[in-house]
Symmetry: C2
Subunit: 153 residues, 2 copies
């Protein structure tokens, strides 16, 4: 996984969520799913792949595995998002937003970005440090201090 520790934040993020199913597990976890069988049935992912992905997400600090015991029931494992994992919502939000505008499904939208308190529709935008919105046409990704000349990693 980590051969030579990439510097690029995009590559580093892809190391965590770039494998197939990983990001979709996060999506379903954000919807409230916590159990192995929920993920398996909700995603249609094979058990062994799911086992592997859950373990990797735990190792990356995205999910936390614990044991949940209902009174009178036997203990069951559950997987809950850490704050680090919950923060990945911004990546999902960006993908939803791009999909809405540039790759919409003919049947309509399957997800909205909303304020949890009052269900107002939200969107993702770029802000400067004063909190003012910046038009996306002006936004660029510039090399930082740790960028190599080739920007490979």
């Amino acid at each position: 996984m980590e051969k030579s520790e990439p510097v690029c934040q995009i590559v580093r993020t892809l190391d965590v969520i770039g494998e197939k199913w990983a990001l979709l597990i996060v999506r379903n976890a954000l919807r409230g799913q916590t159990r192995f069988s929920e993920f398996r049935d909700g995603l249609g992912a094979p058990s062994d792949v799911l086992t592997d992905r859950l373990a990797k997400l735990v190792a990356h600090g995205i999910l936390e595995k614990s044991t949940y015991r209902e009174p009178g029931e036997r203990a069951r494992p559950e997987y809950r998002l850490t704050p680090r994992g919950e923060a990945l919502r911004v990546v999902l939000a960006a993908m939803i937003q791009w999909g809405d505008e540039f790759n919409p499904a003919p049947q309509g939208r399957s997800a909205y970005l909303v304020d949890a308190k009052d269900d107002r529709r939200l969107r993702v935008a770029y802000l400067d440090d004063s909190g003012a919105e910046v038009d996306r046409g002006e936004v660029a990704i510039a090399p930082g201090p740790a960028a190599t000349t080739t920007w490979v990693y």
Copy 2:
């Protein structure tokens, strides 16, 4: 690729950029790379995989292939981002932002999100329809009209 046309915008977006190298090609294209050899050398991706990814990105309308002829030179193919492809910057921006905060490289940052006009640092945030920023702790992803009961796709 498209078996039964998924509805979920996340799945639909992953169909476009979910394969290995695809998003990194977009990253390098946003940095100004246009030629096959630039991508190959800049990414370290094998030629045949790169051929496949470039073709798929063209098929998805992310890149546009054209022929560029320098005066006195022979024609060369080039790949340029379409507006649809440029808009994927928001996904890269989200990944950069998450990486900065939750998975930083020890050497520091390799990329900043900036205003192209004046190089001010920018960030990605959630806005409501009045343009006010919403704290990320309040944000949720809610099922839309085309969501199935299981939310699988």
